[in-house]
Amino acid sequence: MTAYFITFVIMVGVFMVGCFALKLPVGVSMMIAALCGAIEGGLGLETLRMMVEGEFGYVDTILTIGCAMIFMKVIEDSGALDALSSLIIEKFHKAPAVLLILIMLIIMFPGMITGSSTAAVLSAGSIMAPVLALMGIDAVTAGSIIAMGALLGMIAPPVNTAALIICAGIDVPYVGFEGPLALLTFPLAILFVLLLGYKQARHLDYEKLKPALVEQDAVRKQYGLKIYIPLVVLVLLMVVFKVLKLGEDIGMPLMFLLSAVTGLFTGKKINVLQAVPAAIRTAAPVMGILMGVGMFIEVMTATGVRGLVVISCLRLPKFLWLVACAVSIPLFGAVSSYGACSVLGVPFAYIYASLLGGNSVIVLAAISLIAAVGDMMPPTALAGLFAAQITDVKPYTKILKRCIVPIVILLVYACIFLQFSKKIAVLF
């Protein structure tokens, strides 16, 4: 175990030095940390194979992010984002609280049907960001609303990838999760959006806002309803393949690309040769982080560091398990929230659903909610980083700070479900 600890210290140490002292990109720091861990851990000739293999763990996610960014750039350049923002404000400005809740549900929607906070931030989040800005909400708060909406969206029913990963780990069918997940997420969504945004949005004065909407209104008038076609296509594809399940699922990357292609003909002229590289350049750091994460986890696993982390949590006294679960899973999410589900979520699910005799559906649902917080944890912080990017907030940690109270509320709420899973299960 001492050897594992030394490898752990080296990996974390090299990562910190790379990130903070040498100011290297996070993905590169993770790669170097993984390489050092592999060499010190004695992986020898296996090092190269394992690092490349680890990258493959996130190929699908990387594809989704790349395609989502292309879609984003197209609807931004075509004027669809501007047009939709002005439309929403015009229709709902009289009831800011209702408008905020509606915005929150829209942000959550892509996460609900893909199980990915990244998809939520990059699609609906990016569409709602200008609306929040027009409502008078500052960028940090808007980014925080989007990030928390995306976290809750990825956990809300019907699709919760985090829960699905844990289900696969302990052979629990993904059945009967809709009610518990709805109870876990929708009350929090309403609470958080009002907590974060209502103070600033309640004095929304549409007349004062009108001059700022001149450009957006002009786009709406010029292109009419056709400017919304890419958004309609995306929603339609999601509904057809994810909700109604008509035919074989074509996958989120293709859905984003098909929607983006329609956007080339429905609004302002777009230079594809400029827009696509710009989109990929924006997404590249996050894609790099995910590749680094893949290498890092694979080396952690092979060298025994993963086992050390898990067993250290389980060695805590029983009365601290709840705290360990609520702290270690989000912290491991700094590497990857899905990784946290697999590495720590599954053992904690065993403990609460099997050893302590809890209700497996409620336990898994609660742990998946805890795991979602990992998408706010630096350095990966997929939800937080992208929310910061689309609201032009720098550094991203401003959003994390603003989200601390909602995150604490979320963790306490999830822990209540975890601790009293049997009693809560009676409700369903």
Partner: protein
């Protein structure tokens, strides 16, 4: 500007070298042909595509070894390698095929039922690629250590959600888990095609009993256990009692009606076979494990699991601090023997076999001693 271009070229070159070297490794794994020898008592070898022509020419078209006795009798299908990251089932099938003689009835052995899953490893899992055993003759024989799931080269991309033919939804990656794809679909995904071939083979050949051999994480509740379809409960309970009398701890679990796609559920429902599945503890696939390499796979020695055992978090007896391959394969072979005996006690048809290495022989020896 010139410096930027030079840096770019250097990065691209370095990436190409890394990709080339890793690619060679993956290519070798993908095309490695396992050293499975046809046992002296094997009467026929055919391809699984005989029962689903869509598999012909694909990597999933695996060998079926037939051991037919001189007398007519009952029939048994042994499945190894459903999850190639659980190698004891694979090795037990090979030991059976290479050593056993069937006197009466027929035994069909498929050591690599998800052959595609043998050709890669699970990303993020840090698994070894191969296992090596030394035979009595001093020859080294090499076998795959594979993945739980079909190779994405053969089946990709995964949907966000996998919807089984029953309507049950599972994590998207489970679409490549053969043991969630039964009863299968003739022209479905390659995993579903394999599932269909097995179902069709059982129905066509009217195979009386099927045993699917697995391993499970020591912290997993269904461990050192047999899971049985409700129609197979009499045979399973008799077999479990026999094993208990031999001093081999084995629990009996009913096949959950709500968990679909597994052999013990679907082969029981969609064929007339008695469907059984055996699990034995295996630290190399657990989430608590430490350093992961071939040694862990073969010995099951792990300090993290030793701590977990002291903390009473495990469902297996890990007091020895190891769970060697010999113990795991020995349990499977003893299980096969016990369930054949139980079948014979409950059926007009008989399956008579000789030459199955006993539990004590395997546990106290080397597995290589039972490889040709």
């Amino acid at each position: 500007m010139k410096k930027t271009y030079m840096t770019g070229i250097a990065v691209v070159l370095a990436a190409a070298i890394v990709a080339g070297l890793a690619g060679m490794n993956f290519y070798a794994k993908r095309h490695f042909v396992e050293d499975i020898k046809t046992g002296p008592n094997v009467t026929e070898v055919f391809k699984l595509s005989k029962y689903n022509e869509n598999l012909a020419g694909t990597v999933a078209d695996t060998d079926v070894y037939v051991l037919k006795g001189e007398k007519e009798g009952g029939s048994l299908l042994l499945l190894g390698g459903t999850h190639p990251s659980e190698p004891a089932g694979h090795m037990a099938a090979i030991v059976f095929e290479e050593n056993v003689k069937v006197e009466q009835g027929t035994v069909y052995v498929i050591p690599n039922i998800n052959n595609s899953a043998f050709t890669h490893n699970d990303p993020l899992d840090g698994s070894p690629q191969y296992m090596h055993f030394t035979t009595k003759n001093g020859e080294t024989r090499t076998f795959h250590y594979g993945s739980r799931a079909t190779n994405p080269i053969d089946q990709w991309p995964d949907p966000d959600i996998y919807t089984h033919t029953s309507g049950q939804t599972l994590s998207g990656s489970e679409t490549r888990n053969l043991n969630r794809c039964y009863p299968g679909v003739k022209d479905g995904t390659i995993s579903e095609q394999v599932g269909y071939a097995v179902t069709n083979m059982i129905n066509t050949l009217e195979i009386d009993m099927e045993i699917d051999m697995h391993e499970s994480s020591p912290e997993y509740a269904v461990n050192n256990a047999t899971v049985a379809h409700e129609r197979a409960m009499t045979i399973a309970s008799e077999g479990v009692l026999d094993l208990q009398l031999e001093g081999i701890k084995m629990s009996l679990e009913p096949s959950p009606v709500s968990l679909r796609g597994l052999t013990h559920r679907e082969l029981g429902d969609f064929t007339n076979t008695y469907a059984l599945l055996m699990e034995v503890g295996n630290p190399v696939q657990g989430r608590l494990r430490g350093y992961t390499d071939e040694k862990l796979c073969l010995t099951g020695e792990d300090p993290c699991y030793a701590i977990a055992y002291d903390l009473k978090l495990l469902y297996v007896d890990y007091s020895a601090g190891n769970f060697p391959m010999e113990l795991r394969v020995g349990r499977h072979l003893a299980g096969i023997n016990a369930y054949i005996n139980a079948f014979n006690n409950n059926s007009d048809k008989q399956i008579v076999v000789s030459g199955i290495p006993t539990y004590d022989e395997v546990v106290n020896g080397n597995l290589g001693d039972y490889l040709l």
